[in-house]
Amino acid sequence: MSRANGAPRPRPGDPPITPELVEDHGLSPSEYELIVEIMGREPTFTELGVFSAMWSEHCGYKNSKRLLRLLPTTAPWVIQGPGENAGVIDIGGGWALAFKMESHNHPSAVEPYQGAATGVGGILRDVFTMGARPVATLNSLHFGDLEGARVRYLLAGVVRGVGDYGNCVGIPSMGGEVHFDRGYEENPIVNAMCLGIMRCDELIRGTAEGVGNTLMAVGARTGRDGIHGATFASEELSEGDDEASRPQVQVGDPYTEKLLLEASLELIASGEIVGIQDMGAAGLTSSGAEMAGRSGTGVEMDVARVPVRAEAMTPYEILLSESQERMLVVARAGREEAACQILEKWELEAATIGQVTDRGTFRVLEDGVPVAEIPALPLTEGCPAYERPGEESGEVRALRAQDISRYGELSGDDLRVAFLEVVGTPAVASKQWIYEQYDTTVRASSIERPGGSAGLIRIPGTDLGVAASTDCNGRHCYLDPRSGAAGAVVEAARNVACTGATPLAITNCLNFGSPLKAEIRHQFREAVLGIRDACAHLETPVTGGNVSFYNETDGKAVYPTPVIGMVGTIADVANVVGHSFRRPGDAILLLGHNRGELGGSEYLYALHGVVAGEPPRVDLEAERALTRCLPAMAARGVLGSAHDVATGGLAATLAECCLGRPRTGWPVGASLHLHDALPPAALLFGEDHGRVIVSASPADEAEVREIAARHGVPCTPIGTVGEERSSLRIHLRGESLELPLDLLADRYFGAIPRAMDDEP
């Protein structure tokens, strides 16, 4: 038997496998025993590294997959559910929409610019490796309080990173959310989402099919950056990690990404290849093993044939490098030349590194000498799944039980001052400073740009529109993860429905602390159950997502932050509804009920420094009716505007309805009468779910009320749109507020620029 067919043996220089080395690789003693059982022998150092990456939380989902199985994932329009690079749904007219969201929290905490930039790069690759052309991105960013110098540095770096990457590749940013709360002081949450479109028959999957087909490494060369990034992402940070962790943060090159994007879509269309996958987390290891695992074949590759950019890289390093902008391509045997021609056109390097086998293994050679051979399926699917019991923290239970009713009573000038303060908190204030650094109009398809309810783009050459929104109120989730997570789903659905689109499906990014703690496990379980309930009720299945644990610094976890990315469609973009009031004299109506729920509100946090109380309840039946009612109204063309009520309550929504987007003409005033028997501050600042403020011409008002009644949605006339450049007047139980629009505009548009203008 020749050397090449033998079993892998340790390379000269490999460290011996000791319990300490196993622990350093993030593997428990019992997991190591399982590895020995699977292998039938001790693994080599290289094999240990491969297992470590594939069985990390980031790739193996060991603390989450049992719970994630509870999520609803099917509907007639779902083409591809969880388990692929991205989820795919049928959006009609022969078009399919691929979409996915992913976290880049850890890298962004250490190096905000590159961390955020490579987060965008990764999510674009997840979409275009499905054969879809990326057409829009969104993000969800959660930072500490903006007063902190480090937070401002992180925000400036993240925004520049997101912008520089997406702008260069030429993908418009269609929306997102940005929150500020000290719960994220050390650990920002940086989640990026991408949407791509294709014809339904153009779908390609990340599989390595056809024994004898050729594996090619395409794109950037492999270096020593990001080795064990997947394992790094599965550990908590500690003080002083900034410097030590830098080599685990990858560096992005959006220009190469753009070339990869065009080359990949051309390769897929050419039929010369059978599969393609991003070398993302855990690089060559995960892309190779997952492609083999999905198709039930095997792969064999020789690391000596992988183009590298550093000297003397070991197989361990080449297999685990997370250098950016690399792809693994499976070309049809005999068609490698044709595939290479396409890659050459796009000035990309490609190297044949191996082939698809029928051995059922992930097999690695170094210059013909075997250095690793692992059964592919156990490697990708065999990671043990844990579901250890959780327990709610007593501290959170106490916060939730706290009596916050006294904060509801405010009157006179105090109420007016509070109104202006809420509108000017960074979480509520306009994010213009941020989204104007993102190209929002490239591809000439942006119908609703950032700054409204949800983003909405048109499929070129059609009337079909796709809306999307990312949402999560981490403070609500902290106080009650189940209702908070359900709240994120319904808020995202309301945002999509406000544009007139029908919500269809979600992706998610579940950002939590360490699952080794009972209270985090409790949060995670509750949040998953909240998403399950809400998605089942709204018939918006989960098509994929990402779990990010260990968002902790020195033992302090971020708020549980299950970010929801909701997508929906509207048949004709001519019926799209904007978020701001348009015509003086239009009637203003409230869909839903005011309940004055102040728990977990921005008002309590920003004005009283309090994070307490029961967060707003979620009535799933009411939300379902509301999100079906809005598209029906839009289709009839009877709405002047529609805007969701969320962070900052009615105060924030009414201010936004009056002010509209910047640079689009003068704001309009409004006069409102709110008769609810609720304490004034609770009425104005409560973040009760299930509410949307709409406006309609006097001629259309009756039809709006009729459609609402037909859907069982409460609909109350509450006021009238006023003149340009006037004021927002609100009359409530014995209180009257008059807020000049220029003062509101200054608070709303000025807050973030005033905080950030000294940042580069």
Binding site: R160, Y255, T256, K258, D439, T441, V442, R443, R663
Partner: protein, 248 residues
Amino acid sequence: MRIAVITFPGSNCDQDCHRSVEAAGATAVPVWHREISLGGTDAVIVPGGFAHGDYLRPGAIARFSPIMTPVVEFARAGRLVVGICNGFQILCEAGLLPGALLRNRSLRFQSHDCALRVERSDTPFTSRYREGQVIRMPLAHADGNYYADRGALEELESEGRVLFRYSDAEGESTEEANPNGSLNRIAGIVNEGGNVLGLMPHPDRAIDLALGSQDGLPLFESLVDSVHQRTPAQMAAAEGRALAGTAR
């Protein structure tokens, strides 16, 4: 009529320009940067994006792409060439337009709508506009701060070669309405021959009311009209002026 739309590696507005040309009633012909001929097309558009990754500086590498040799010859022959955003930067680097686009005054990438005043309507690119008309379209760039030395700037102004100027909604070209620090609030200029246009904002993203504005469409329609109507004498005159400009 066939209008070439050049694609460099890193171009990302080529499809938008393609659709704009078709919306104006002409046929768009995609031309890859490594080609050495414009294939008999009637006009050329150099679209926006990040050609060659904007490495070194925007347009600095693109000017060496093989296709730029025939583009420069085409322009010198008095034929019509339009550069939008990165295309404007490339035409400056290629020496077809004077001046340079520096980093925005804000030092940030800026992406928002802007208002422009059309300074002349008697040019091949603006015949479908009214002189003094205020138009609205998106801009999206990090390097759009137009700079030229005093002599070149005076020449541009005295020869009426500034076609688009940043203004407010009422058409007042104030410093407040200057988004990026451009000298004289310049958004778009033509060469000496009047046959090469460069502008930073994106008419290709404003061809349809559903997108918020269709104020960019007349630019493409003007271009198409001009190609139809352009006489050999006009082209020769433009060629003469372009060559004289080069000699200076």
